[in-house]
Each structure stands twice: as structure tokens, then as C-alpha cells.
């Protein structure tokens, strides 16, 4: 099932980037995440899989505190990034999010030009001293998101005019333009066609060299293709977490096995 053999070798040496301990998430009375503990490695692609509604997105959104924007959502337990508790009262969620980039399920470019889309984060965080530097940041982000060649001649065209796959890569460029350390992706390919999906997957594999990437996906093939570690969620519980190969070839938990063989959906 696994085709990129090289990636496995450099996995083991990486340090822990994110560690979550006994995380509980409630939406009002309804508990969406039950006592989840997990350690996510740096420079690794970690996939979250599981049936729809099991809490993958909810858990992902805990990592950059996006759940703070939902009134009824409460998060308990602690999540550390580089040993620092991100739910500590000293931490500004706004700054945290500059460090932990996020790419959403549906491509959501702003109704601005391609350039302004990518420059949005750097401008807000004051990452450039002048126009030339900003140009440079934008170009680098677009190149790293593998979309530079397609858009370099029309940086002033609206981002909303691109195709779905291009929009999603633009959103990835927008996320990496702020130089995050962690990149969260919530089903980034679910609105894309197979060719665009392949391009984005290739990109994810590239990004692994610089970031810890966490990707939620409903496609087990995709998890197998792009990730080195896989976490299987079911009904708000983290059922099994380990090397992707192992999860897909020799799962320990019967629920994991049922899911990957298609019996829980």
C-alpha cells in the first residue's frame, strides 16, 4: 500500500512537535472529543482518519485554537507545541495561528488579487519591511505551493477566478507565506478532482521537509499515500495511532480493522 519508501527512513529521528494530553472537547452538552492524547512529530505528515462526525476536524481545530471562534465550544486538557501549552492564558490565539497555519476543506481564497491573498498574512504580522521583501515572500510561497508558474503572469487577477485545484494551492501558499511551523489541513482535497488532488498530495509530501503537517482525510488511500503516521478516530475517541504502514496492514484494534476494510463507514 505504501509507495514512497524513502520517507520512512527519516521519520523516526524527528522530535515531538505537538503533544496533546487528555483533551476533551464539548459543543454545549455534547462531547465531541473524549480524552484524546497524541504526540505528533515534526517534519512528518500525520493523517487523521475516521468516519464522518467522529471529531477529526474538531481535534484539528484545537491545535490552532480555531474552536475559540465557536461560542459553544469548550476545550479541556492540554496541548503543547514545542513544550509550550497553547491554552495557557499567556498565549495569544491570534499569534498562535500565525505559527500554526490552516488549510480548509473548501478552497476559500479572499475576494482579492492572487498577490494580496498570499500577502495577507505577512502584511498582518508585519513580516516584510518593504515592497521588495513582500514580493519575495509572495513569490517564495507561491513557488513552494507549486502554483507559481501558473499564476506568475497574473498576480493581480482575482484569486477567486482560479480553478478549484489552483485555489486550494493558493490557499496553501497563503498559509505558508506566514512561515508557520505546523500546517493543519482539513480534507484539503475533498473539493478537488483527481488531477488537482494528485498535485496537492505531491505538494504535501514536499512541505513535510519544513513543517509538521497534520491532514484530515476521509480517503484511506490518501492517508496511505501521503502520511507517515496515522491516527484513527471513532466516535470522539482516538482508537489507534501509529505508523501508517502498520495501521493499514496490521491494525491492533478491531474497530480500525473494520474501518479500513470498509465495515464501518
Amino acid at each position: 500500500m505504501k509507495d514512497n519508501v524513502i520517507s520512512e527512513m527519516d521519520v523516526t529521528t524527528d522530535k515531538i512537535k505537538i503533544s496533546a494530553n487528555n483533551v476533551q472537547v464539548y459543543y454545549g452538552e455534547n462531547q465531541a472529543i473524549k480524552d484524546v492524547s497524541v504526540e505528533i512529530q515534526d517534519k512528518t505528515v500525520t493523517a487523521f482518519i475516521g468516519p464522518s462526525g467522529c471529531g477529526k476536524s474538531t481535534f484539528l481545530r484545537c491545535i490552532n485554537r480555531m474552536n475559540d471562534t465557536i461560542d459553544i465550544c469548550r476545550v479541556q486538557g492540554d496541548i503543547m507545541i514545542d513544550g509550550e501549552d497553547i491554552y495557557d492564558s499567556n498565549v495569544d490565539p491570534v499569534q498562535l495561528r500565525a505559527k500554526v497555519g490552516m488549510v480548509f476543506q473548501k478552497p476559500n481564497p479572499f475576494p482579492k488579487s492572487i498577490y494580496d491573498n498570499v500577502a495577507y498574512g505577512p502584511r498582518i504580522h508585519g513580516l516584510s519591511r518593504n515592497k521588495a521583501e513582500l514580493d519575495d515572500i509572495v513569490e517564495r510561497a507561491l513557488k513552494r505551493a507549486a502554483i507559481w508558474n501558473e499564476v506568475k503572469d497574473r498576480l493581480n487577477a482575482p484569486g477567486t477566478g482560479l480553478s478549484g485545484g489552483q485555489q486550494q494551492r493558493l490557499c496553501i501558499a497563503r498559509a505558508i507565506a506566514t512561515e508557520p511551523e505546523v500546517l493543519l489541513m482539513d480534507e484539503p482535497c475533498s473539493a478537488l478532482d483527481p488531477i488537482a488532488t494528485a498535485q496537492v498530495e505531491e505538494l504535501i509530501d514536499e512541505l513535510r521537509q519544513n513543517y509538521a503537517v497534520v491532514i484530515v482525510t476521509h480517503s484511506m488511500q490518501q492517508a496511505a499515500r501521503v502520511s507517515q503516521k496515522t491516527a484513527f478516530f471513532h466516535l470522539g475517541n482516538l482508537v489507534e495511532y501509529g505508523e501508517t504502514d502498520k495501521i493499514f496492514t496490521a491494525p491492533e484494534d478491531p474497530r480500525t480493522e473494520s474501518y479500513i476494510t470498509g465495515r464501518i463507514g
Partner: protein, 499 residues
């Protein structure tokens, strides 16, 4: 009262048609069921559709003819009765139309008297001016006449009555017949394979199309009526003065200055002040309500704001007259006794008074439109911005507002066209002096208020001083129409952005 016999038979007729309609519905439905030997699945359409179809056939042609009949019959009668009135009977200073309305009043009066029992039907038919004082007779039954009834008028009135009675009978017979024929045709058509559903569908389509075209036709009608009167005006008054002059001073000597510019200036000045008040406040209120307020605050504040929108503008006018105007005078006027100790403002009516109050009136308008538009910006835009580490206000400033901007501009233009068309607040708040001045503390006046005052005076309807109202109205119409078209175009373009 005089109308009792005019309306009652018609009402009765309508009721009869409606009863026939209901009957048709049940009969056709039963017939359809019988044709399918009680098994609705064998029918082409659901049984109710056969009923609807028969009801349509019974009611619509009959009611349609009835409507036309009610419209045409009085005209026909009038035309034939007018020929009975000799030219000599039209006294000096009167007109055929005035005599005609006497005829109608006498005719209706006689009918009322018969209804009230003051006259028998025969006596009413045989009555003559020679041996009866018709005026006092009718006065007893509560019908007041302006002058003595002449023989010609009475004659015409009698003719009027008899024609009306005949018309009534003809109409009743014709409508009942049409209704029954419709019923009969529908029943004949009701068989198991008859496509009643398709017919009903087409009827619905026609109904909707009629509604749509009525709306459009009215607009066209309004434009044309204004256009004709405006053309009349321009044939009496030079257009150069109207569009390019700088004075508005109607008088009765026939050499009025009737220029739109001072009025247009007042209109635009007041509207700009109103927008300067309404746009920031309305927009900020909308941003607060749609972005920050929790659902409890929104549940209270939104309806409250919208209540403001329901207040009649005359009430705002009173507010301007009684509260805002005097306050502004306290602030900017009265020299030593005033709050600022200046003497810039003498009367309570001013551009500023009207503009402020009109701005208050427009706040809910701007805020509720902007609120809808801001809410239409997809949540994913905000998430994208938050996800990049933007704060709430950065997100609003840099993503939400720019995304909503075209729609907000549209909302502002709609508000502007309301401000331009507003009348009552200006009447009470801005004064009645037409002038071009930059001082907002002076009284000025607007197009709308001049239209009202030109049409409510005692002047001859055919004079330029009166007809200018239509030219003003037409200009106003074109102005607001243009604003609305631009606004709707912008709003629509913006809607497409997220599809």
C-alpha cells in the same frame, strides 16, 4: 346608500358565480372519480385537478367579462345620455360634465328614494318637474342636490335609470350564462384521460405572468402620465429656465422663474447630510450586530432597529420640528443666550435639521441591508482570515467589508434614493425657501416639497406653475430610477461572486 342597488346585484352575481365555482369543483371531481370507477390511479391527474380545472372554467371567463362589463357599461350609458342634454341646458360657467354629474345624482337619488320607501317604483318613473319639487323630495331621502332639477336633467336621469336597469339585467343573464357554459364545457371534458393537471399548471403560469406584467405596466403608465404633463409644461415654459435657471419663484402673473436647480441643490444637500449620518452609524450597527453581538443581543436589537424603519416619516418630521430644530437653534443660534454663544442660525428649519432627522430615519434601512449583506459573506472567508492569525477587527476590515463592499455601496445608493424622494421630514424640517447656498444652517427646500405645494394651491391646473410639478416629478423619478438601477446592478454583481 345611493349605491346600494348598484352594488348589491353585482355582489350577488359574484356570489352566485362563486357558488357555481364551488359546485363545479365538486361535480368535476366526482365525475372524474366516477369515470375512473373510483380508482384515482386510473386518472391522468389527481382528482382535485379536475375540480380545479372546472372551477377555473366556471369562474374566470365569467368574472373577466363581469369586470369588463362593469367598466364599459357606465361609459356607454354616459355617452348615450349626454346626447340628451341640449347645449342650452349647460348654463354659463358650467360644463357638460357638471350637468352629467347632476344627472347621475338625480338618478341615484331617485333610486335611493325608492329604496327608502319615499317613492314607489312607478311614481319614480312617472315623476315630472311640473308637479313635484324633486329637490326637496330627494333631500328628504338624504340626497342633497346643488340646484333645482330642470326638465332636461330629469329626463336624462330617467333615461340613465332605465338604461342602468336594463344593463343590470343583461349583465346578470350574460354572466350566469358564461359561467354555466364554462361549467358545462369543463364537465364534458372531464374524462379519465383528460390532462387537467397540465391545464391547471398553465393557468398558474398565466396568473403569475399577469401579476408580473401588471407591475411593469403600472410603472410604464406612471412614466407616461408624467411625461405627457411634462411635455405640456415645456410647451408653456422654456426648458432652458427649468434646467439651467437659478431661481425658483412661482407667482401668478405668468412670469414665474421655475428652475429646478435650487430645488435639486436642496435635495442633494439634505440627502448628503442624511447619508453622512446614516451610513457610518448604520454600517457600524450592522457590523456590531452581525459580527460581535451574541444571539441574545441580536434577538432584541434587530427588531428594535427595524421598528425605527416602521415609523411613519411624518413622525420623524414632527421630531425635526419640535426637538431637533429647536435644539440646533439653541446650539448654533440665539447669540449670547445660546449654548455656543454664536448667532449663526435663526429659525428651527434648516438643511441640517432635515438632514439629521432623515439620517436617523435611514439608519435602520442602511443597517438592515448591510446586515444581510455582511451575513452573506461566507463564514469560510472569516475562518480563512482567523486561520492566518488575523484578529477579529482585522478580519472585518480587510476581508469581510471588502467582500461586502459592492453590496454595501448598493445599500447606500438605495438609501440615497429614499433620501431624495423623502417629503414629510423636509416639509417640516427644512423650510420652504428655494435657494442655492452652502450654509447648512439656512432653510432650503427640495423637489418633493415643491411638488406638493405646486399641486395643492388654488391655481389653474393648466398653468405652468402647476404643471411644473410633473416636470419636477419626472426629474425626480429619473434620478431615483438611475440610482436604483446602479444600486441593483452592483448588488446583483456582488451576489454572483459567491456562487
Amino acid at each position: 346608500m345611493g349605491n346600494f342597488l348598484n352594488v348589491a346585484p353585482t355582489t350577488l352575481l359574484v356570489i352566485v358565480v362563486l357558488i357555481l365555482t364551488a359546485l363545479a369543483f365538486f361535480m368535476a371531481r366526482n365525475r372524474a372519480m366516477a369515470a375512473a370507477s373510483g380508482d384515482a390511479r386510473k386518472l391522468h391527474s389527481l382528482p382535485n385537478y379536475y375540480g380545479y380545472n372546472a372551477a377555473m372554467m366556471t369562474a374566470i371567463p365569467a368574472l373577466f367579462v363581469l369586470a369588463i362589463w362593469l367598466f364599459v357599461q357606465p361609459m356607454l350609458i354616459q355617452n348615450s345620455v349626454i346626447s340628451l342634454i341640449p347645449q342650452a341646458a349647460v348654463s354659463e360657467g358650467s360644463s357638460v360634465n357638471l350637468v352629467m354629474s347632476d344627472v347621475r345624482r338625480v338618478a341615484n337619488g331617485l333610486t335611493t328614494a325608492v329604496d327608502a320607501g319615499a317613492l314607489t317604483a312607478d311614481a319614480a318613473r312617472d315623476i315630472s318637474t311640473a308637479n313635484t319639487d324633486i329637490r326637496s323630495l330627494l333631500a328628504e331621502s338624504g340626497v342633497a342636490l346643488g340646484s333645482e332639477v330642470t326638465a332636461e336633467v330629469l329626463n336624462a336621469a330617467q333615461r340613465y335609470r332605465s338604461m342602468q336597469a336594463t344593463g343590470q339585467w343583461l349583465m346578470t343573464a350574460a354572466i350566469c350564462a358564461i359561467s354555466l357554459i364554462g361549467l358545462f364545457i369543463a364537465m364534458r371534458a372531464t374524462t379519465a384521460t383528460f390532462r387537467a393537471r397540465n391545464l391547471v399548471e398553465r393557468f398558474m403560469l398565466a396568473l403569475l405572468m399577469i401579476a408580473a406584467s401588471l407591475a411593469i405596466l403600472t410603472t410604464v403608465g406612471i412614466v407616461f402620465s408624467m411625461l405627457f404633463e411634462s411635455i405640456n409644461f415645456f410647451s408653456l415654459h422654456p426648458w432652458q429656465d427649468f434646467f439651467l435657471g437659478d431661481k425658483w419663484s412661482p407667482n401668478f402673473r405668468g412670469d414665474s422663474d421655475l428652475s429646478i436647480l435650487p430645488l435639486l441643490w436642496g435635495t442633494i444637500y439634505i440627502s448628503i447630510i442624511a447619508l453622512l449620518v446614516a451610513v457610518p452609524i448604520g454600517l457600524f450597527a450592522a457590523i456590531y450586530l452581525s459580527e460581535y453581538a451574541n444571539s441574545k443581543v441580536r434577538a432584541v436589537a434587530k427588531p428594535l432597529l427595524e421598528i425605527l424603519a416602521g415609523i411613519p416619516t411624518i413622525v420623524y418630521g414632527l421630531f425635526a420640528l419640535l426637538t431637533v430644530g429647536p435644539f440646533l437653534v439653541d446650539l448654533f443660534g440665539r447669540g449670547e443666550n445660546g449654548i455656543l454663544g454664536v448667532d449663526w442660525m435663526s429659525g428651527a428649519t434648516s438643511v441640517l435639521t432635515a438632514g439629521l432627522v432623515m439620517g436617523i430615519m435611514l439608519i435602520p434601512f442602511v443597517s438592515s441591508l448591510s446586515d444581510d449583506i455582511i451575513n452573506a459573506v461566507p463564514q469560510s472567508m472569516r475562518d480563512g482570515s482567523f486561520g492566518l492569525g488575523a484578529t477579529h477587527s482585522e478580519t472585518i476590515r480587510q476581508v469581510v467589508i471588502p467582500a461586502a463592499l459592492p453590496g454595501i455601496v448598493g445599500a447606500i445608493l438605495l438609501a440615497a434614493s429614499r433620501a431624495i424622494g423623502e417629503t414629510m421630514i423636509v416639509v417640516l424640517g427644512a423650510g420652504a425657501i428655494a435657494r442655492i447656498s452652502a450654509n447648512p444652517l439656512e432653510a432650503m427646500t427640495t423637489i418633493t416639497t415643491r411638488i406638493v405645494s405646486q399641486l395643492t394651491g388654488d391655481t389653474d391646473f393648466a398653468s405652468p406653475e402647476t404643471l411644473v410639478a410633473f416636470a419636477l416629478g419626472l426629474t425626480l423619478f429619473v434620478l431615483t430610477l438611475g440610482l436604483n438601477v446602479v444600486a441593483l446592478y452592483i448588488v446583483r454583481k456582488y451576489r454572483e461572486q459567491y456562487e
